[in-house]
Amino acid sequence: MRVDEQIGYDNRVAFAEELAELARADERVVAVCNDSVGSSNLGAFREEFGDRLINVGIAEQNMVGVGAGLAATGLIPFVCAAGPFLTGRATEQVKADVAYSQHPVILCGMSPGMAYGELGPTHHSVEDLSWMRALPGLDILVPADRRQTRQAMRMLVAHPRPTYMRVGRHKVPDVTTDGDMLVHGRIDVVRDGDDVTVIAIGTLVSRALSAARALADDGVSTRVLNAAWVAPLDRATILEAARGTRAIVVAEEANIAGGLGAAVAQVVAREGIGVPVIPLGLTQFAPTGSNDALLEHVGLTSGSIARVAAQALGR
């Protein structure tokens, strides 16, 4: 059975459970949302913690500013809203109030990528990585599964920093195991190989692993990297891949203009290493379709990843 077809988990469930655990242990933990109590999965949090959930209504600019103010009084705010509205509507607040001001706000882009499927491009968050990458002083984190989601949240409460974190809705299988540690700014090698590298994030990590297994059947050795940290970017691991394999494919549920693929290409080109870096992602507003159908439509499946990787090797 392909990983794509396995039963997976909605990271928002792990997010909500972990947020409650963290809030029980640490009174500084609060949540802020924009009427998204339901879609951010915060109903139980509101029941248990009452006024530690601040719902500012449908007002994302104020929401992010409020998050910065809460952080300025020593609290640890998880500011939760659907990715497109958090990063699009409030971009200047993220820039000035969070990144430039260095208020340690944890911005949680819920249901990112094309999770909202048929609701269309207004509700897709595929520009978020490009927009947020342009901001110095802001970490960007895309947990690949429920375990990484929890690890990331614990790390951020222990060491609060201005951070944008995607919290996926599209069900994904576990790609990490209990022994795996999330290390700040480190890209993890989740499968080693020496012919081609696939760097993937979020929903695409399990698909990249599936592609690697298919490629192995054809005698291609594939290195798979989980780039949970889009910023700061682990240049060393990218350069090792550029020197140790003959091509790099970057798979992300995001626009390729300014996304992770662009970041990887910049690192590789800067060193003058002559390997192709092939970004897989979106270049157009998506048509109407379910998340799965749209991933298929734009070529973000294990089959597409394997095909592109093989082509890059001249096979």
Binding site: G65, A72, A96
Partner: protein, 299 residues
């Protein structure tokens, strides 16, 4: 981020503390005179800074000076020697382009040495054209784009209340800035949450960069609008220190307080007052001398 932060001038902190205590101990007239003198020092400092940088926003700096002097010499519970201690009142200058007035005020309190004011907008100076909290102690959040200070102030007021603190939050916006929708989002939330520990002061000088506010996108009746959004509104002369002191008294209704401080852009310098072109015009050397004289230099 690796920026070097300015540090407190302890001797100046002591002078500021003595002045503040003197004001608190004296009768109303003495207190008002002391704060008014502070505001005039801030204004003279602003003129010198803008002269040396050959840039700045002189009109709004001069209109907001009495508000700043009143808060920092008469109201705020702060310790400039320990600027990040959590148990403090907070002030946010949302109209960040009036940084020269804020820096002059912070230096008056000893957050950093007054010598630094001479570096205003110089290459690599901590004193950027808009305030940066990672470089300048006493700056609570970075402002510059308009409509940012009040949402952050709402978050601070909520955060303080959640932690059981009785400290208060003050935000000063420009009046043109009230055209930004984010301010009204923030006011709605402040009223909804009953943030009686939050005070908004609008520097109502009736001019924005390009024209009169009422000829641009009219704000009147501003007080009624703020009241309709759920604020306890106080309309005063923003250059009357006694009125300012009364207007920033705690909420009496449980609502957030909104002070509409009617001011004159360029206040204190006759040829700058109420003239739209002085939003960010820089005075000539001759005008600097005239301005400083009108502001009581050497008096």
């Amino acid at each position: 981020m690796g920026f070097s932060m300015l540090t407190a001038d302890i001797a100046q902190v002591d002078r500021w503390r003595a002045l503040r205590d003197q004001g608190a101990a004296g009768d109303e007239a003495d207190r008002v005179a002391l704060i008014h003198a502070g505001a005039q020092r801030i204004r003279r400092s602003v003129v010198r800074m803008i002269d040396s940088a050959r840039a700045g926003h002189i009109g709004g700096d001069l209109s907001v000076s009495d508000i700043l002097a009143t808060l920092y010499l008469g109201v705020l519970e702060i310790d400039p020697a320990e600027p990040t201690q959590l148990d403090r009142d907070r002030f946010i200058l949302s109209k960040g382009h009036c940084a020269a007035a804020l820096y002059s005020t912070l230096a008056e309190c000893g957050y950093f040495s007054r010598d630094e004011l001479g570096t205003f907008m110089a290459p690599f100076s901590a004193l950027n054209g808009h305030p940066n909290r990672t470089k300048v102690p006493g700056v609570e959040t970075n402002t510059g784009p308009l409509g940012h200070g009040l949402p952050v102030g709402v978050g601070e007021a909520l955060g303080l209340r959640l932690q059981g603190s009785s400290r208060r939050v003050f935000v000063t916006t420009g009046d043109g800035e009230m055209q930004e929708g984010s301010n009204w989002e923030a006011i709605m939330a402040a009223a909804h949450y009953g943030l009686s520990n939050l005070t908004l002061i609008v520097d109502r000088n009736r001019l924005q960069q390009g024209a009169r506010t009422e000829d641009t996108n009219g704000l009147d009746p501003l007080g009624e609008r703020l009241a309709a959004f759920g604020c306890e509104v106080r309309e005063i002369d923003g250059h009357d220190v006694a009125a300012l002191l009364a207007a920033v008294a705690p909420s009496s209704t449980g609502k957030p307080v909104a002070v509409v401080a009617h001011t004159i852009k360029g206040k204190g310098v006759s040829f700058i007052e109420d003239r739209v072109e002085w939003h960010h015009k820089v005075p000539t050397a001759e005008q600097v001398v005239l301005a400083l004289a009108e502001l009581g230099e050497g008096a």
